[in-house]
Structure formats: structure tokens, C-alpha cells
């Protein structure tokens, strides 16, 4: 798995696409929920991450159970 710092940059870039907003700023520990990601955005974000990281999330994977960049990174590193 790529380092957290690099992963953070990938997630932020993916979020810019998902939210159609180039001005996004998200810290590694900030909650996706608090940031305003809804259930449909989470699907788009996971799909973007799959494309960018050449990975595949399990179909049962729930972004909100790993509700920050740091927690998501940790789950992927397991």
C-alpha cells in the first residue's frame, strides 16, 4: 500500500472529481461524513479510488466504517 501522505493526495484528487470542486481541502483525520460525503458520493469516491489505485473494494465495503483518510488507509493496509 502506498504511504499515507501519497494516499491522502490521491483521495483529495478523487474527491475533487466526485464533488466537481477543485478547491477541496481535507485533512487526514477529518471525517468523510462531516465533510459532507453522502452515500452516493461514497460510491463515486470508492470507484475513483479503484481506478486510481488499481484496487477493488469488496462489494460490502462501507466507506463510512472507515470514516477518514487515515482510517481508510489503515483498512487497506490490513
Amino acid at each position: 500500500m502506498i504511504p499515507l501522505e501519497e494516499f491522502h493526495a490521491v483521495v483529495v484528487d478523487a474527491l475533487k472529481v466526485v464533488q466537481k470542486n477543485d478547491e477541496i481541502s481535507l485533512s487526514v483525520d477529518e471525517s468523510f461524513t462531516d465533510f459532507g460525503i453522502d452515500s452516493l458520493d461514497s460510491m463515486s469516491l470508492l470507484l475513483e479510488l479503484e481506478k486510481r489505485l488499481s484496487i477493488e473494494f469488496d462489494e460490502e465495503f462501507d466507506l463510512f466504517e472507515h470514516d477518514s483518510v487515515a482510517k481508510l488507509h489503515a483498512s487497506l493496509a490490513e
Binding site: 453522502d38 452515500s39 452516493l40 461514497s42 460510491m43 463515486s44 470508492l46 470507484l47 479503484e50 462489494e59
Partner: protein
């Protein structure tokens, strides 16, 4: 490659029926923990058409046909075949709903009638089936019905499905005489291993949907098929006047539009006031476009199965 387009049978016109009753999604957002922006901008469905409990699938079809007959002069005794595309048939599906529609319309015994069990890809499949069937057997007039009232199988507590689906029906008149649109090359695909993504459980008879699985499937495979269909018909995005994508949700239509780089004005979302009507979603839109007479219309349906299908419709300038 142009042989299919030269088929004598094509779409003459379309009739539709939406029940008057509406479920107001905005009035119940608190129940489902959603906000107005989510309903309006993401799901896209502010209202859902609902049939009455005593209205059967065949009744929806008959009402669509009655509305068709108000628009055009189609002597029913000249109908040679009818197909009903549904996965929520009358009763338990035995007898087939097309036979019940046949009886309610008072059609003669020489009429061929059968059902097709498909969901959101059903209209695209159905067009190919009925055109081929009519060509093969020298038939002149056919009726392709779509009616899949999901209200029969909705779980009222499940916001994954309860906020999405509306009831409705359409009927497309296919004719050898003066067709407005002819069917181009169509592409069909299936991934049966994804069948669990949208299914009705056998015990409670309620529909269940894994939203992310459906979204991921849609975004990964449908754009490829749309591109391949354009190529198969010797067309580019610029050649096509409208892209009628199955109205699964505004979110899916918007994302697919962006993924394919399609002009937003060419990919309408028209189901805000009645919901996702499954196999009826494409012909509902197509009906409203027939008066505008765009030259080329791409139609793409995707969902239950998993099944997806795409085709291109070409206007016949001699007839409309």
C-alpha cells in the same frame, strides 16, 4: 453493417400511462434521514407514481394502449403480436400477462402474445425481439408493452429502494407501414454472477438492491457498451442527437454523462416527477421526443441481471 437499419419494421409511435397518485419524496425525507438536496440533486426523484392496489400490471398496459389509441388510428384487429416486458406480472405470472392484456384488449386468436422477463434493459431487448419476430413471420403491426410496477415488491422501510421506483407503463407500436424510427445495430450483455445486486427474496417477496454494486457495474461496463454501439453503427457522439439512458437515478445519469463526456443537453433526466419506472423509463422519454424528431437517438438500459443493452434509433425521413 446497415442491414438492421434497413429492416422494414420500426417504431410508429408510443403510448404511455402514469397513475395519477404520487408519493411525495420530499415530504418524507426526515423519515429516511435524507435532505432536500440529496433527493432533488442526487436521487432526482421528488415524486413517485403509484398505482392503486387493485390495479394490476395488465391494467397499466391496457391504459397505456388506450392512451395510444387516443393519439393514432390503429385498428386493434390489425395487431398481429403483442409482447409484455415485466418482472412483476399479474398474480404470480401464470398465465402470462400478455395473454391477460390480449383478453382485456379483445384481440383475436391469431395474435401472438408472450412475455419477456427483463428489468431495466428490457425495452432495448424488446425492440430487437419484436422487430425480429415481425420480420421473420411477415407481421405488420406489433405492440411492445413495458410495465414493471415495483410497488408490488417494495419494502417501505428500505430507503435503498423506497425512494426510487415509480409505477407506469408504455406501449410501442411497431409497424411495417410508415415507421418513424428504425432500429440500428444493438448490443446485449449479461453478467449473471451479479444477480444478487437486485433481487426479490423468495420469502418476503421484497426487492433488495445493493446500491454500490449496481452503481459500480453501471459505471464500469455500460459506457464501454455505448461506445461500442456507436462504433457498430458507424457513428460518433457528435452524430447522435439524444442519449436516452435508463433513469435509474439522476446520480447515475449525471455520472454516466460525465464519464462518456456527453453534452448534458443531449442526456435528459425526465423522471423527476414519477420515478424509476424500470423498462418503461426509456420509452417514457422516447415518447416525449418523437414530436421533436431527432435524427439519431441512442438508448441504453441497464440493471437487473445484471443485464445491459444499447441500441441506436434512426429517424426515417420518408415517414416522419
Amino acid at each position: 453493417m446497415g442491414s438492421v437499419r434497413e429492416s422494414a419494421v420500426g417504431i410508429r409511435t408510443i403510448g404511455s400511462y402514469l397513475p395519477e397518485e404520487r408519493v411525495d419524496n420530499l415530504a418524507r425525507i426526515a423519515t429516511f434521514g435524507k435532505d432536500e438536496v440529496f433527493v432533488k440533486e442526487k436521487l432526482g426523484f421528488t415524486k413517485l407514481a403509484r398505482k392503486s392496489t387493485d390495479e394490476e400490471t395488465s391494467d397499466l398496459c391496457v391504459k397505456a394502449c388506450e392512451n395510444l389509441l387516443k393519439q393514432v388510428d390503429l385498428p386493434l384487429e390489425e395487431v398481429d403480436c403483442l409482447i409484455v416486458c415485466t418482472q412483476n406480472p399479474d398474480a404470480a405470472g401464470l398465465p402470462h400477462t400478455s395473454a391477460i392484456v390480449h383478453a382485456k384488449l379483445g384481440l383475436g386468436t391469431s395474435v401472438a402474445a408472450f412475455d419477456i422477463s427483463l428489468g431495466c434493459s428490457g425495452y432495448v431487448y424488446g425492440l430487437s425481439v419484436i422487430c425480429s419476430f415481425m420480420e421473420m413471420n411477415g407481421l405488420s403491426n406489433g405492440l411492445l408493452f413495458t410495465a414493471d410496477p415495483y410497488s408490488k415488491v417494495l419494502d417501505s422501510a428500505d430507503y435503498n429502494t423506497e425512494l426510487l421506483f415509480g409505477d407506469g407503463a408504455t406501449v410501442t407500436w411497431l409497424s411495417r407501414d410508415k415507421p418513424c424510427y428504425r432500429l440500428g445495430r444493438s448490443l446485449f450483455s449479461t453478467n449473471g454472477s451479479g444477480q444478487g445486486a437486485i433481487h426479490v427474496d423468495s420469502e418476503e417477496r421484497k426487492v433488495h438492491m445493493k446500491g454500490r454494486s449496481v452503481f459500480t457495474f453501471t459505471m464500469k461496463v455500460v459506457p464501454q457498451q455505448i461506445k461500442a454501439c456507436l462504433t457498430a453503427n458507424d457513428c460518433t457522439v457528435d452524430d447522435v442527437d439524444r442519449f436516452l439512458l435508463h433513469q435509474g437515478s439522476k446520480f447515475i445519469v449525471d455520472n454516466m454523462t460525465a464519464s462518456l463526456g456527453l453534452p448534458v443537453e443531449k442526456t435528459p433526466f425526465m423522471a423527476a416527477e414519477y420515478g424509476n419506472t424500470i423498462s418503461s423509463s426509456i420509452p417514457m422519454m422516447l415518447k416525449t421526443l418523437l414530436d421533436e424528431r431527432p435524427e439519431k437517438i441512442l438508448i441504453s438500459g441497464f440493471g437487473v441481471g445484471l443485464s445491459w443493452a444499447t441500441s441506436l434509433l434512426f429517424r426515417d425521413p420518408d415517414n416522419c
